[in-house]
Symmetry: C2
Subunit: 456 residues, 2 copies
């Protein structure tokens, strides 16, 4: 039998022509988004001042299982996709595990992460609609970089609200975003009503994703011919990211394997959902029965310790409410927390799937354990992973070590969403033994959860 | 006819099993390396205290056209190779050129450049010989990162002398090197006789590649069971880098094209030689007649304005003398010069090929022109290139624009050696309009050339 190669590549012709909408097959559909003021289910026309028309439609779409990927988006995909499905032979050998470990590697593009998959789609729909400018927020910087690349490609202006502490810690992320022609504004800024209010209430605060979202939405909705773009959490983003799982599924078909365990890191859910969705379809339809694990940081444990209820998607309460696992829109993870995965909530679709038990397990891990896995992985597999992705690596290693004990030849798939080039401060802290773990107490979590709206 | 894909991948089975030694086919062989004290041709036993046995043999090898790539090295290659040959459709479209532009992309691994191709080979031979530690130098940091990865993989200790100014400007490069388990010493240091001498002669100096080489060689030759590794300039490095050109040649065969013009950036020559060597063989054997262009920075113009003569490879005069194009071992490029390509000399093989006229042309370009091309390329092709690689991009664009004028459908190949993630300071200077060009005067060059040894 022919040995499975280290990297399984599809041909460019095999790039999927459709994204997959898992929502159409769920046991129970998600609860509708609610208008932030009326608390009534939102309509398409409520969303259109915020998002481009096609994206608003995708956000609401509960009926079409497959949505065509526009040709221009597919052509852009061809510059960096299909991404490889990698057989981690060296990791298996180093661990001495009988498990077959695979990862879908999304870090091989200049944005350094999977975020580009949705960024290019969102920029495309903006261009098609004749939108002149987009606004967005970025925390760790992956999304801001990706959207800057996409907007640079289609000639759309972009204003990025970058969480202030990240802006200061990652000047080079800012440099890349500006090299692609976008402007960067540290958030909270004095340019928006929301930003001024937050700055007044909490002088000297270093910002949060929730506030940056509020600022970006405010500018988008008050500037002519401008829309807002979001890099995670929304259904439209999860939809675009299904390219990851669809490609992975095809690659597994080619080599005649199928994953027993599928592991993804969990922030807003875009990578997690994108990787898992097609496999979730297999499970919902009884074709296969993979075991799904969402991995989140112990310092921002929305699925493992949050509440499944309606919450605002932002701190300023200008966005719709979504029913999701949430730590409360006022929750801000400890400043010792490195990298992304710091959003208070979780995409509604994934929240519902977890609530239903289709997504089998959420697991939280401490960041020193994560960086231990990251450094180990970097040495044996030759890729320096993003802190976010390293959450999945941690659990993949743990599962592979269980197989070593039991002797099981399980097939493990995890998402390697990005590279750690812009996270060296965190790595250097870890190398110097200065990294701290943070697990919020129940009281601390309650404070966050208390910021969730009381619904009638 | 089937459209040529954006990215032409070979299968892992097609990774070459042999490196190609262009020296065996040259019109005239290179002049021998000379012992730094006796000035007599060196012998294998002169080299062995510096380099591992197999590498010393490769350095001297003038007879074997093909040298087998060890299986463990090929297996490591499979983690990130074959690298794609990319058809730059978007660049062609943006330029409106009838030319077919291709680039061989070597930046898709964590070291971010082609340097890993030789690093893993050098670390392998060290491991095979039972060497405990390696020393090396790094300027811009690509080589130090690559060798740290390779040594981390094989469990070899590594001490990197990093040019002091680079160490300060690029703390994150240092962070990556240390994450892979290597130690970093800013050069000139007080740990070596050479370093102390340079620090005494030039207090407060910020270092040079030539000095860092001297320090690394001193430590290697005075520490038990330790050897030195070099990332460019040497024939052994050029040999390992032929994997680039060999893969490119196979990929062109697959799509039925052949390059009319081959462009590489020129520092010490490792990428340039590695990309060109197999095509040079075609030319020397009359099979094809591609036109070769070496591109160097105007601030370090060894081929265009240097002298073809014997010179030391380092500032401290502890390494052998090589006959090469050189600006003098005492030449230090302006501190306004960004990125690598700051070595005073050029690999002997390439120097001889250029002297013979086989390598057709050397062209020097100013760095603002280079960053203009880099930024343009980043937007249209979606890859943020290293400053080094962008020298080749500049000339590839210039040649493609000539084709636009003449209507010629020339096939252009250039080497995209790496990514610019760790060069954001330079990009940000360029974005802010603060980047300066530097072209040394003839008098300034004469000062450097005066440091070359007087040979009898």
């Amino acid at each position: 039998m022919k040995q499975i190669p280290y990297k399984i590549y599809l041909s460019e012709d095999e790039i999927p022509h459709y994204w997959y909408n898992v929502r159409t097959e769920m046991k129970e559909d998600i609860a509708p988004l609610l208008h932030p003021e009326t608390k009534k289910p939102i309509t398409l026309s409520d969303l259109e001042p915020i998002f481009c028309h096609e994206l608003a439609k995708q956000e609401m779409n509960a009926t079409d299982a497959y949505i065509e990927i526009p040709e221009e988006v597919r052509n852009f995909y061809k510059m960096y996709r299909p991404s490889p499905l990698v057989r981690a032979y060296c990791l298996e050998k180093a661990l001495g595990t009988p498990a077959h470990i695979y990862y879908k590697y999304e870090g091989g593009n200049t944005s350094g992460s999977h975020k580009l998959n949705s960024a290019i789609a969102q920029a495309y729909y903006a261009k098609e609609q004749g939108i002149k400018a987009l606004t967005t927020e970025t925390g760790a910087g992956q999304w801001g970089t990706a959207l800057a690349m996409a907007c640079g490609y289609f000639g759309i202006d972009l204003k990025v609200f970058m969480v202030k502490c990240s802006c200061e810690q990652k000047p080079f992320r800012r440099g890349v975003i500006e090299t692609y022609g976008a402007s960067v504004t540290p958030s909270p800024s004095m340019e928006t009503a929301v930003g001024r209010k937050i700055n007044e209430m909490y002088p000297g605060n270093t910002g949060s994703l929730g506030t940056a979202i509020s600022e970006a939405v405010e500018v988008a909705t008050t500037t002519p011919n401008t829309r807002y773009a979001l890099g995670s959490v929304m259904n439209q983003v999860l939809l675009h990211q299904t390219i990851i799982g669809l490609e992975a599924g095809k690659a597994f078909e080619k080599i005649g394997e199928y994953p027993d365990i599928i592991i993804g890191c969990a922030g807003g859910g875009s990578n997690l959902g994108g990787l898992m969705a097609p496999f979730i379809s297999d499970k919902l339809n009884g074709r296969r029965n993979p075991y799904f694990i969402a991995v989140e940081p112990s310092s921002c444990p929305s699925m493992t310790r949050g509440k499944f209820a309606y919450d605002f998607c932002d701190t300023g309460h200008v966005t719709p409410l979504a029913k999701m696992y949430s730590l409360g829109n006022g929750y801000i993870p400890s400043s010792s927390h490195a990298g992304g995965l710091r959003y208070h909530g979780m995409n509604s679709v994934l929240s519902q799937l977890y609530h239903d038990g289709t997504l089998d397990e959420a697991r939280s891990v401490k960041q020193t354990e994560v960086f231990e896995a990251a450094t180990y992985f970097a040495k044996v597999e030759g890729i320096l992973p993003a802190p976010e992705s390293s959450h999945a690596i941690r659990v993949a290693i743990d599962e592979a070590l269980k197989c070593k004990e039991t002797g099981e030849e399980k097939v493990i798939l995890f998402g390697l969403t990005g590279t750690g080039y812009f996270d060296m401060t965190a790595y250097m802290n870890y190398n110097a033994g200065k990294m701290e773990d943070y697990v919020p107490t129940d009281e601390e979590l309650q404070k966050g959860i208390a910021t969730m709206p009381k619904m009638d």
